[in-house]
Every structure is written in C-alpha cells, then in structure tokens.
C-alpha cells in the first residue's frame, strides 16, 4: 500500500522535474507554469455567482451584462496573469566567494525573453519568502536573494519558485525552476585560538618548529616589523602572541617575500574536531592571501604546494571546502 504511494510519488516527482527548466539561464515557459485561484479569486467567483443568480431571478439584462463582463474580465486576467510569468529570463550572476554561514547571498538578473514587461514578479526559495520586482522590458532587474544553505562543499542551488498575482490578485500563477549551477561553499573561517595549536601551551611556542608561531619565527623576514596597534586597525593583524605575553597590542606587518615559506598543516592542530580544524585552516589561508603571502596547505592525503595568487587561494579553499566529504560533493 505504502509502496504504491511511493511509486506514485516518484512518478509525480519525475513528471514535475521534467517540466521544470534547469539551467543557468532559465526561461520560464508554459510547461512549468501553474495557476490556481487565490482566496480573493474565490471571493470574486462567489460574488459572480450571486450576481448571476440575481440576474436570472430579476430577468434583468443589464445585470446579465455586468455579470458577464466580470466573468470576461476574470478570464482575460487569468490568461494575462498566466502570460505575465512566461518568457521571463532568469540568469544566475557570477558568484563572489561564499562562506558557510546562515544565509547565502546570490544575485539573479531578471529580464524578458518575450519582448514585453512583466509586473509584480516574486522570486524566492518558497512562496512565503520572496523578493518582489517588476521586469520592465528591455531593462534588466537585479534581485538579491538570501538562501539558506546547509554546509560547506558543493551546493546545488535549491529549487526556486517565481510567482505573481498580477493583475487583480484573483489568480496565483507560479513556476518552479532550478539552476544547474552549483556553488562551492567554503568553510566558515574561524580564528584559531593559540591554545589549540600543537604543543598547547604558550610557553612551548618558542620551541615548536611546526606551530604557526614557529613558522613565523623561523622565517625572520616573515613579518617585517611589529608596530604599535592603533585604534581602528584590523584586529586580524594583531600579533596575539605578543598580546598574550602582556607586551601590548602589536600589528604584524608581513613582507612580500619569504625565505621560509608558510605551511598550513592539518597536524598542527591538536585536540580539535575536524570541522573546526578546517575552519581554522580556512582562516589562515584567507589571512595569508589577504597579505599577499605565499603559503602551502597540507591535509592528510592532500597537499597543495607553495604558491600565491588568486588561483592558489581558490584551490586551497576548494580543497578545504570539499575535504572529507563524500565523492559526489567533490566533483567540481
């Protein structure tokens, strides 16, 4: 019994998915457009029926005319509402880097592929949370959506819905679509506190060749100088080590070239969950690339050799994003 329903459900899903356009450049068509009267549509229909009964009872031809005009306007608005949603082109704009967090911001460009304007179009993840705009041909409307994303890794954008109740709110017209495009969600960067670094205690940090501090230390040109912190400067560049030693706040100024390269190593962290390690490493990669330094990344089973530049940064972040995830989520 239950199995039968399951088969039916699967058939329905297949039918539904087949009709749903799936691309990075989606044009809504009649196959994926659905229409149903809204509550106000039912109200108007009820008024219409009462009017018709009145017209029949009073044998009043003007009452007939008014009723039929209302029915006519209803039918015309049904079709124009339906057409209002068709021929909309949705383009997923190139993404900036997306880090794992509560919401992911994506930008869509809405334009008309049918040489006409579309009014009061809502786009969103669900019908209860949409962004509303007009598409005034030939201009392009840019809409920013906040989507809920799950976790790092390769993320297929969720099925999205566009809807409209234009012109009179009597009919809801909606259409599902999905972008083929996937977004690589980078891990959430978290600044590593000093005590999670291998060797644990601050005292040992001087000797620890492999600690982050050690890396810095061994390469004496690692950072150019320590200078006094001034209010308003990025907290990211504070030399926490010095701060911990109660020497006051200092800003690390790194130099461009390094004799001893930075190697961000998985094994540098101890007593920490894997996910947290990934976040720490992400933070470090971002910091280093922001300061235009060369660095290398070492994860168990993977390593990326010393390099710098945007591509290197992307490679490192991508590795971190998909590390320890099932195979299908890594096909980027």
């Amino acid at each position: 019994m239950f199995k039968d329903y399951f088969v039916l459900y699967r058939l329905f899903r297949r039918w539904f998915d087949r009709r749903m356009p799936r691309s990075d450049n989606v044009v809504l068509n009649h196959k994926s457009t659905y229409i149903w009267p809204s509550a106000y549509g039912y109200l108007t229909l009820m008024v219409c029926i009462i009017m018709l009964i009145g017209a029949i009872n009073y044998q009043n031809n003007l009452a007939f005319l008014l009723t039929f005009l209302l029915i006519g306007i209803g039918l015309v608005s049904l079709l124009s509402g339906y057409k209002n949603l068709q021929g909309i082109r949705l383009i997923l704009n190139a993404q900036k880097e997306v880090f794992e967090s509560e919401t992911v911001v994506i930008e869509l460009s809405l334009s008309s592929a049918s040489d006409k304007s579309h009014f009061s179009i809502g786009v969103g993840e669900s019908k209860s949370n949409m962004t509303w705009c007009d598409i005034l041909h030939p201009e392009m409307t840019k809409v920013i959506l906040h989507l809920h994303c799950k976790s790092r890794g390769l993320w297929s954008l969720p099925r999205m819905v566009t809807m409209s109740r234009f012109p009179f709110g009597w009919f809801s017209v909606w259409s599902y679509f999905a972008f083929e495009h996937t977004v690589l969600i980078y891990p959430k960067p978290i600044e590593p506190p000093a005590n999670v670094i291998k060797g644990g205690g601050l005292d040992q940090s001087d000797e620890g060749e492999e600690t982050i501090e050690g890396i810095r230390k061994s390469g004496s040109e690692d950072f150019h100088e320590l200078r006094n912190y001034q209010a308003g400067e990025s907290m990211n560049r504070i030399d926490w080590k010095s701060y911990a030693r109660e020497k006051g706040l200092f800003i690390r100024e790194f130099t461009e070239s390094l004799a001893n390269p930075l190697v961000f190593d998985w094994d540098n962290f101890v007593l920490t969950e894997d996910e947290l390690k990934i976040s720490y490493l992400t933070y470090m990669v971002i910091q280093a690339s922001e300061q235009n330094m060369s660095y290398a990344l070492k994860l168990p089973g993977h390593s990326i050799s010393m390099n710098d530049g945007d591509q290197h940064r992307r490679d490192c972040l991508a590795l971190l994003a998909t590390y320890q995830l099932p195979q299908e989520a890594r096909e980027w």
Partner: protein
C-alpha cells in the same frame, strides 16, 4: 525610472490604498443615492468623510465611539425607515448601508478586496432601479476604478492616481484597465447572446413591483399601453384540473383574466360605479365546464383580484361583485395566493332590469356627436344587435385600423377622432369605442379590463401572466344570451390573441413605419437629437433590455442556429468564450511593444550583430556587456591581421553614446533630436558592419 524591489514583508505590508478604495466605493454607491432615502446618502458620505479624514491625518484607527455612534444612528434610521426589511428598496438600502460601513474596517488587504469585489454586486443593484443607457455608461467609471485599485494592491511600484494634479492622470495609467475591459467585451457579448434565459424568475421578491401596480380602477387613455411595456410578472396560475379538461376549456387565445368592468364614461376615461357584492350564485354547471386553479398574485397596492373569465364564486380573500369581478376588502401589499373556480362558458344576466338597461347605455350628453349619429344610423341597417356588433368588427377587420402601442395624441372628441380620423390605437381605444358605439345604438355594453394570455413555464406546471399581457375588451348585452364577450382588438390584430406579442417589437415597428413619417431634413438640430436619442432609447429597449427567450430564439434562427438544442447552444457558447479568451492572450492584443524607439534600435543592433555572428544573440544582453564584447572582438580582428576598419569604432562609439544617453545621470533622455540622431547613427553603423564578415 528606478526599478522597485520589495522584500516579501514589504510587499505584504504595503500601505493600503485607502483613499482610492473609499473614492471607488462612493463612485459605486453614487447611482443608488438617487433612489434610496436621503438620510442613507448622508450617513454613507459621513462614513466616507470620517475614513478619509483619519487616513489623511495618518491615524491608524478610527475613534471607536464615533463608529458606535454612526452604527447606532444607522440602525435607528433603518428601523424607522424600513419597518419591514424586505422588498427591493429595503433590501438594497440595507446592503448599501452595510457596504458603506465596511470602509470603517479597512485594516488588511482582505478588507479592500472585499469592498472591491462586493462593489460589483452593488453596481448590479443599481440596475434594479434604473436601466437607462446613461447608468451603463456611468458604470464604466467605477468598474475601472475597482480594477485600478486591485492593480494597485498587486503592484510592486506605486501607481497612485493623483486626483489633484491633472497632469498625472495620464492615459497610460488607465490604459491597462481599458485593455482588460475591452478584451472582456466579446466574451460578455457571447455569454449575453447564448446564455439560456428562463421564462420567469426563479422566485419572486416581495415588493419587486412597487413601481408597477397593474390594472387600475379607472381606464385613462394610454394607461394600459404603459403597462404593456413592463415585462414584470403580474401573477402566476396553476391549474388544478386535469390537463385534458383544462386544455379543452382554456387555451392561450381564450385565456381572458378578468379584473373588473368599467361602466361609466365621462368623455375621457372609463370608471367603475355602483357595483354591489352578490352572494354566491347557484349555477347549475356540469363538472366538465368548470376550471379550478390557484393564483399567486404579486403585490398590486389595490383591492382587485384576478380571476379567469368568468369566476363562479367568491374566493377566500375576496367577494364576488355583480359584474363578476372579485375584489378583496383590503389592498394587496404582498404577494398572495388563492384558489378560484371559473367557467369560460358561463352565461351572465340573461335578464336585466330597465334601470340596468338605462345605466349601461348611458353616455355623456355632449361630445363625440359624429360617432353617436353614425352608430344610430348604422344600427338601422341591421335587424339585430348581434348583427350590428358583428358588422362593426368586420369594419375594424377590413378597414385600415391599426394597432399600435404608442398611438398619436387624439383630438378633443376622442372617440370621433379615433374612429374616423386616426384609426390607430391600442386595445383600450378599441374597447372604449365599441362600447361607446353600442351604447349610442342603445345596446347595453361595458368595458372589461384584465389580462389576456400567459406563458407556460416550460420547467414547471404553471402559467405566468405579466403586466405586458394587460388588456381591455368589452361585454355586450344581447337579448337571450346575456353579457357576451366581444374583443374588438382581436378583430384587427388576430396575432394579439393567437400569440402574445409582448416582445414582438418588430411587428410594432413595421406598423409605425408606414404611418409615422418624419422628414429628418427639415427638423431643427435639437429635434433631430431628440429623435436620435429616442431612437437610441428604443433600440436599447428592443435589443438590450428586451432581449429575452423569444428574442434569443428569433436571433438564433436568423443565424441559422435554430437546429441546435439548448445543450448544443451552451457548448457553442463555451467554445466561443474559450476562443475569445485565448485570443486575448495573443501578445499582439495583450502586450504591445512598449519600448521606446531608442531601445528598439538598440535591440536591432544586437540582432544584427548576432545574425552576422559577431556576438551571440541574447535578449538580456546589456549595452555595457555588448561594448566589452565588441572591443574584444575588435582586438581579435586586428590580431588576426584584419585590415583597418572603422566600422567597429563606429558601432562601439554609438553604443557608448547609447549608454550615456540612457543610463548616465542628468542624461538628456528627452532630447528628441539627440535620440533620433543616435538612432540613425546606430542603424548606419550596423549596416557598415556587414562588410566585416566578408
């Protein structure tokens, strides 16, 4: 023009168009103000003012005590004004008042929607009071306003109509609504023509007929013909007798419904005098000769009841009078039902007294001398009264006597003028004249008024008689036969008796055409307009208001659709409606290309470039993107050893100008000359590009 983008919560909680809603509501109610009690108009306007004041002052709520006070006042006024909330005036009044009160409660989009949707119903109520073409023309305004406010509710951008600034009421604003109405018109027309009409109402509302009160106590010229124009129902009849017996005794052509007799003529009209109640006469009639039936009479505001000619006894609520009319002791203000028994073959008053003989031959001493003389002379030519009456009917039948609903105004001596000069009249003229002639010849005679004919409801076993069936005929007293029914109208317009011509306007028109001739060229402009308007009105009556089942049938047969039955006609209707609905969806009708010429020119450039494979076509391509593509392409061209070509520079330059003109701030976008120049430049540059691909 900036594009508005709203978040979901912003869209759901947009400020409501309260001012527009209240204005629309008042526009909807406006026609009713002419027909409803004056205090109702005042209350409704006060409510509107209160709401508008609160809105304009930015108050979210309206003072609760003000609401309570208004409601209380309205309730008291309703209670005093319509003691009985039934009937058209009371019902519509109450609904309108409740409708006006609804605007005090606008809080959510739902409330606005309810006001707008119910607005259509209120508009319909207006048609119960007036059906003139003017009200129809007017109602386009509230309908457009309803649609406008609905669009406002569902729009992202603000489309507030400013009422003060006349410049902002542009046609562009209302064009979409005109479009919807325009596209809905064919659908409306198809429904109107094909929608099946019933012979009578589903049920009747009490007091519906307050404007019409049926046959009245006196018979003045023109009274019955006025009634004849009303298609409303006078009464319904259900026969209790078996179908066979009934059809042998009564059929449509001898269905005379007696209301009363008129026995006194004052030179202008007839009235009823000195008629006494009689106790139930004891007629010895076989059961086959009797017809028993039940009448449901609509309110008449009069005492007279209706009975099939001729009633045998009094009824539950009315006494039988000596002229065999049935009259109630009180006026009929509500629909009533009563049973009666009649016999169409009943003989009345075989013997009359000399006083009665004198009374029924009495005429005014003066006036209509010509007819009097003619009647006396003609009587000499025949040996019996019956033969004389027969000869008059023959004269009406053979000579040019016409039947018309709107006869010309007769001269002072009404009978003379009708009988000898105009010879055009309605049933009351014929009845009145025949009785006059008979009396002048010394034969007792009286006028009988009532209804003739009726329509059988095809869906149920009862007959419907309308005010339009109102009729006048005569009774002539003949020796040995008593009062004999003579219908002079049937002598001319046999159709009138064979088939009710209520909706047979074409028959009446053809009669008018021959007689009434107006020389349009010699009329003053005002007169012409009067005629034109009158014509419009009569066309309106004939084709819009008068479109009923008979007209529908006639219309179908003239279109060769008579072979189809009701179900097939409904199928045709649905197909036609679907056709027009789909037609409305064509882009050509629904969405004209509203782009500016310059945007079109840009689009043309894109298409041309695409057709020459210079860039891939994409409707969504932006000008900046296109410029970039072209620059890349140009670099590519030169890198591969292309000859120097200024076409690229020309097109890139024109696109840059386009960007400047359309997108930069302070752009001279309304500089028509610059726009035209740019369009020319773009076209020229595009045509030069063709050389690139060779």
């Amino acid at each position: 023009m900036g594009v508005t983008i709203l978040k979901h919560s912003e869209f759901e909680r947009k400020p409501l168009p309260i001012v527009e809603t209240v204005v629309t509501q008042q526009l909807i109610l406006l026609p009713l103000y002419f027909f409803l009690p004056f205090w109702l108009t005042i209350v409704s306007l006060v409510i509107a003012a209160v709401v508008l004041r609160a809105e304009l002052k930015g108050e979210f709520t309206i003072n609760r005590w003000l609401k309570v006070a208004l409601t209380l006042v309205a309730f008291i006024l309703v209670f005093v004004s319509f003691r009985k909330i039934s009937g058209r005036d009371g019902g519509v009044g109450l609904i309108s008042l409740m409708y006006a009160f609804k605007s005090l409660e606008i809080k959510k989009p739902r409330d606005v929607n309810v006001i707008l949707s119910l607005g259509f119903f209120i508009l319909l109520a207006g048609f119960l009071f007036s059906q003139s073409p003017m009200i129809v023309v007017y109602q386009v305004i509230p309908i457009m306003m309803i649609l406008h406010v609905l669009v406002m509710l569902n729009s992202v951008h603000n489309v507030h109509l400013k009422f003060i600034d006349s410049r902002s009421i542009k046609f562009e604003r209302i064009k979409p609504h005109v479009k919807y109405i325009f596209l809905a018109l064919p659908i409306m027309f198809v429904f109107f023509v094909f929608f099946p009409r019933l012979g009578g109402p589903l049920w009747s509302m009490p007091g519906m007929k307050s404007a019409v009160s049926g046959v009245s106590d006196t018979m003045m010229p023109g009274e019955i013909s006025d009634l004849q124009l009303s298609d409303e129902i006078a009464f319904r009849v259900k026969f209790n007798t078996t179908a066979d017996n009934q059809s042998s005794l009564v059929n449509k052509s001898n269905m005379y419904w007696r209301v009363m007799t008129m026995n006194h003529f004052d030179g202008v009209g007839w009235s009823r005098r000195n008629v006494k109640i009689i106790s139930n006469p004891n007629h010895q009639l076989p059961e086959e000769a009797k017809v028993s039936y039940e009448i449901t009479l609509e309110a008449t505001n009069q005492k007279h009841l209706v009975a099939l000619d001729r009633p045998l006894s009094k009824v539950r609520i009315g006494n039988l009078y000596e002229d065999y009319s049935v009259v109630s002791a009180f006026k009929i203000y509500d629909r009533i039902r009563y049973s009666a028994t009649s016999s169409p073959t009943l003989t009345l008053d075989q013997i009359i007294t000399p006083e009665q003989q004198d009374f029924f031959t009495r005429l005014p001493a003066e006036g209509n001398e010509k007819t009097k003389e003619w009647a006396q002379n003609t009587r000499q030519l025949y040996e019996s009264d019956a033969a004389f009456i027969q000869s008059i009917l023959a004269k009406i039948n053979k000579e040019e006597y016409f039947y018309s609903l709107s006869p010309p105004t007769l001269d002072e001596d009404l009978v003379d003028s009708f009988w000898f000069d105009y010879k055009i009249g309605f049933c009351e003229h014929y009845a009145s004249t025949l009785v006059f002639i008979a009396r002048a010849a010394g034969i007792p005679a009286r006028v009988v008024v009532g209804y003739q004919g009726g329509d059988k409801n095809p869906l149920a076993d009862y007959w419907i008689v309308r005010y339009a069936d109102a009729h006048a005929w005569t009774e002539i007293w003949l020796q040995g036969r008593g009062w004999v029914r003579v219908d002079p109208t049937s002598a001319i317009a046999a159709h009138r008796v064979e088939e009710v011509l209520r909706s047979d306007f074409s028959f009446r028109d053809s009669l008018f055409e021959d007689i009434e001739f107006v020389d349009i060229d010699n009329l003053s402009a005002f007169k012409q307009m009067t005629y034109w308007f009158d014509n419009l009105n009569s066309q309106w009556n004939d084709w819009v208001l008068g479109y009923n089942r008979n007209m529908q049938r006639k219309f179908f047969s003239s279109w060769g659709l008579s072979g189809f039955n009701q179900t097939q006609l409904i199928v045709i209707m649905i197909i036609a409606v679907m056709f027009f609905t789909l037609l409305s969806g064509f882009n050509k009708f629904a969405n004209r290309d509203k782009r500016t010429p310059i945007a079109k020119a840009f689009n043309l450039v894109c298409k041309n470039l695409a057709s020459k494979n210079i860039v891939a076509y994409d409707a969504a391509i932006g000008p900046e993107h296109l410029r970039q593509l072209l620059i890349n392409r140009k670099a590519h061209y030169y890198r591969h050893g292309g000859k120097p070509n200024s076409a690229y520079d020309a097109i890139i330059d024109s696109i840059e100008q386009y960007i400047k003109l359309r997108y930069s701030k302070n752009s001279p976008s309304d500089d028509q000359e610059a726009i035209n120049k740019l369009i020319r430049q773009m076209k020229k540059a595009t045509s030069r590009l063709s050389r690139l691909t060779e």
